[in-house]
């Protein structure tokens, strides 16, 4: 049964709604507790209690800063692919694989048919939404990225695996909407890396968002955008949250070659630098985005998830983002 009617939405007429991409830094006590569970020194219930406390704290922080469209902060997720792989049927988790430098992760392996047997994120969505009168955006990892960032021992075809994942993620998205989610973001960072497979990414996204009664968003970052633009706009979603700042607003130049026809969640905070950009710098970025996309279709957010920053840096960056947006709103 749907309880969507109870869920809050963004105010009609609110200009430049403020949001984030999804992940927030995990406080040290949470990182330690996760490691403790792995060693058998902390119970899963104790970890869950801490994750809930930190989720509440994350929501309070977002409210306090003045964000409009909140997220749950992903305190309970590790890697964005592994989290779903651990909670869907058909996956196993591999041995360690190098990411870069001295960083390693456990890459998921598709070992059998992928299936959705129960909601993965719905309880967390309900919990987060119950903490606030502001709308909470649900965040999922998209089928193309899940496929590209997993090993495949079973399907033997990138398309077959991507489409099987698309059906699974569609079911999760439907369950979120039934639980009241009005905004569903389906992250597809891998889409910008293989321009030759953009058609597959679009087909898979159509499966996910088809018939979904929610505002749909996708997040893509750090890749070869010129190779996939404007075809990118055919991804069947209402909004794109994109990384603009790390690439010195290069994407906005690209959007001048062909109109950006969807809503744009403009990344005005570089999440890959320790430096907290001044309010004026972020204002300039927002104004640059406004020169390409009209205010009625522009949202403001950081480039990407904030989990790689310290909690203090993340908060300071968001505080400046809010102030910069308010300044620009006054001029509209």
């Amino acid at each position: 049964m749907s309880d969507a009617a109870a869920a809050p939405a963004l105010d009609q007429g609110l200009l430049l709604p403020l949001s984030t991409i999804g992940s927030f830094p995990k406080p040290e006590r949470l990182t330690k507790a996760r490691a403790g569970v792995a060693r058998g020194e902390v119970t899963p219930d104790e970890l869950l209690r801490l994750e809930r406390e930190e989720t509440v704290a994350c929501i309070r922080m977002q409210e306090g800063l003045g964000l409009d469209l909140l997220v749950d902060g992903e305190m309970y997720r590790g890697d964005m692919t592994a989290y779903f792989a651990e909670n869907l049927e058909g996956f196993r988790i591999s041995g360690l694989v190098r990411s870069y430098g001295n960083r390693y992760y456990r890459k998921p392996v598709v070992a059998g048919p992928v299936r959705w047997s129960r909601p993965v994120t719905v309880e967390w969505f309900r919990f987060a939404q119950a903490q606030t009168a502001k709308p909470v955006k649900a965040i999922l990892t998209g089928p193309y990225t899940m496929m590209d960032w997993s090993f495949d021992d079973h399907y033997g075809s990138r398309e077959a695996l991507a489409m099987a994942l698309a059906e699974v993620i569609h079911q999760e998205a439907v369950a979120l909407v039934e639980a009241g989610a009005r905004y569903v973001q389906i992250d597809e960072p891998a889409v910008s890396v293989r321009p030759d497979e953009i058609d597959l990414a679009i087909k898979a996204m159509a499966q996910v968002t088809g018939g979904l009664e929610a505002r749909t968003i996708t997040h893509i970052c750090y890749g070869d955008f010129p190779a996939i633009y404007p075809r990118l706009l055919d991804l069947p979603v209402d909004q794109f949250t994109l990384e603009l700042s790390n690439s010195d607003l290069g994407l906005l130049q690209l959007f001048k070659t062909s109109p950006f026809t969807k809503e744009l969640g403009a990344g005005v905070v570089d999440v890959h630098t320790h430096v907290v950009e001044p309010v004026e710098v972020m204002q300039e970025r927002i104004r640059a985005a406004l020169a390409v996309v009209p205010a009625a279709r522009l949202y403001v957010n950081p480039d990407c998830g904030l989990k790689t920053r310290s909690p203090e840096q993340a908060e300071a960056k968001l505080r400046n983002m809010v102030e910069a947006t308010r300044e620009v709103r006054r001029t509209l």
């Binding site: 041995g95 360690l96 190098r98 001295n102």
Partner: protein
């Protein structure tokens, strides 16, 4: 002669505690708890384990696993003069990254940077031979930032001249086979005209060492004509994308038609990018056998053939990497039965 070899890199970690010495050492060095020499000792240890895995699988020609390499690009650029190492960029279509070099000054090479590691690997691997590996000038030029606007051709040629000194030193250190990795060429076929002049500079003055030009990350067979003209002794191909849905026998005929009879080939036949373990028999019957029949047919029965992984195995978990090496050795054994 049919040999089995890992293409280049190998996991520098595993799930056993003794396979995590390097990760731990780097973490401790980052915290200032141990001096850099202890990281080097851990690199030595992981190199020994990489070589041990290859030897245990029964490979004929080993690599040092490139355990000391941060990535295939910046490791070589750091050894050359004229580069500054910058931020992380995605490495081709993988979920891994490399540090991008910026070519900021005249490219040169002041002192050897691969020779010591090569000698170490030779000592550990003996009596099995080790191939020396260097990332090639086209790939380095392609993946670097050309801050002085030299243009790809000039930059690649300058890098080739700098790297030439390293190849000469590797030869002097006893390297009988030097592999030049050019993973960028399959994705940038427009660079093919630079291949021959760059390779000519790169191998200039070598007298005893043989050179293997290795491609990966895509189908380089459309460039067979250019590859065949390069002044190298062996040509390496990633056969997985080259076959696609087509017939392996037809691919073998294309290879035999384009690659001179006196040139050797390295055939990337075991998939280095996925965990799926195909049986040696499937790979042999479906891929290796039809291609070997064409390549070793009349006119070139003595051709040197390396059977390799399609990529380095660093993208795989260690247990899977080990299994892939065993499959590779089993394919080689089957091939030797039929093509002694």
């Amino acid at each position: 002669m049919i040999l089995a070899a890992l293409l280049n890199n190998y996991p520098r970690i595993g799930d056993r505690p003794e396979e995590q010495v390097l990760r731990r050492a780097i973490q401790r060095a980052d915290r200032g708890e141990i001096p850099p020499e202890e990281v080097a000792a851990a690199e030595d240890e992981m190199t020994r384990l990489a070589i041990a895995d290859q030897a245990a699988a029964g490979l004929d020609l080993l690599t040092d696993g490139q355990i000391r390499w941060h990535d295939p690009v910046s490791h070589v650029a750091r050894g050359l003069a004229g580069f500054r190492i910058e931020g992380l960029l995605r490495y081709f279509d993988t979920n891994t990254y490399y540090r991008q070099p910026a070519a900021t000054g005249p490219i040169g090479r002041e002192k050897p940077f691969l020779v010591q590691a090569y000698r170490f690997a030779v000592g550990v691997a003996a009596p099995r031979p080790v191939k020396a590996i260097v990332t090639g000038p086209l790939t380095l030029a392609r993946l670097s930032r050309d801050t002085l606007n030299r243009g790809l051709r000039d930059l690649a040629l300058q890098i080739a001249s700098g790297l030439n000194r390293e190849l000469l030193d590797l030869e002097a250190a006893g390297a009988a086979l030097i592999q030049v990795d050019e993973p960028a060429i399959a994705r940038h076929p427009e660079d093919a005209p630079i291949l021959r002049p760059a390779m000519r500079r790169l191998v200039s003055g070598l007298t005893t060492a043989r050179v293997l030009l290795a491609t990966s990350f895509g189908d380089a067979t459309p460039l067979l004509g250019d590859l065949a003209l390069a002044p190298v002794d062996l040509i390496g191909l990633d056969l997985r994308p080259a076959i696609g849905g087509a017939d392996a026998g037809a691919l073998g005929s294309r290879l035999a038609g384009a690659i001179p009879a006196e040139a050797g080939v390295a055939l990337g036949i075991v998939d280095g990018r996925n965990t799926r373990l195909e049986s040696a028999e499937t790979i042999y019957e479906g891929v290796a056998r039809p291609i070997l029949q064409a390549l070793l047919a009349a006119g070139a029965p003595k051709r040197v053939v390396h059977l390799t992984t399609s990529h380095g195995l660093e993208f795989l978990p260690r247990d899977v990497a080990r299994a892939k090496l065993s499959i590779l050795a089993a394919v080689r054994d089957r091939a030797r039965q039929e093509f002694p």
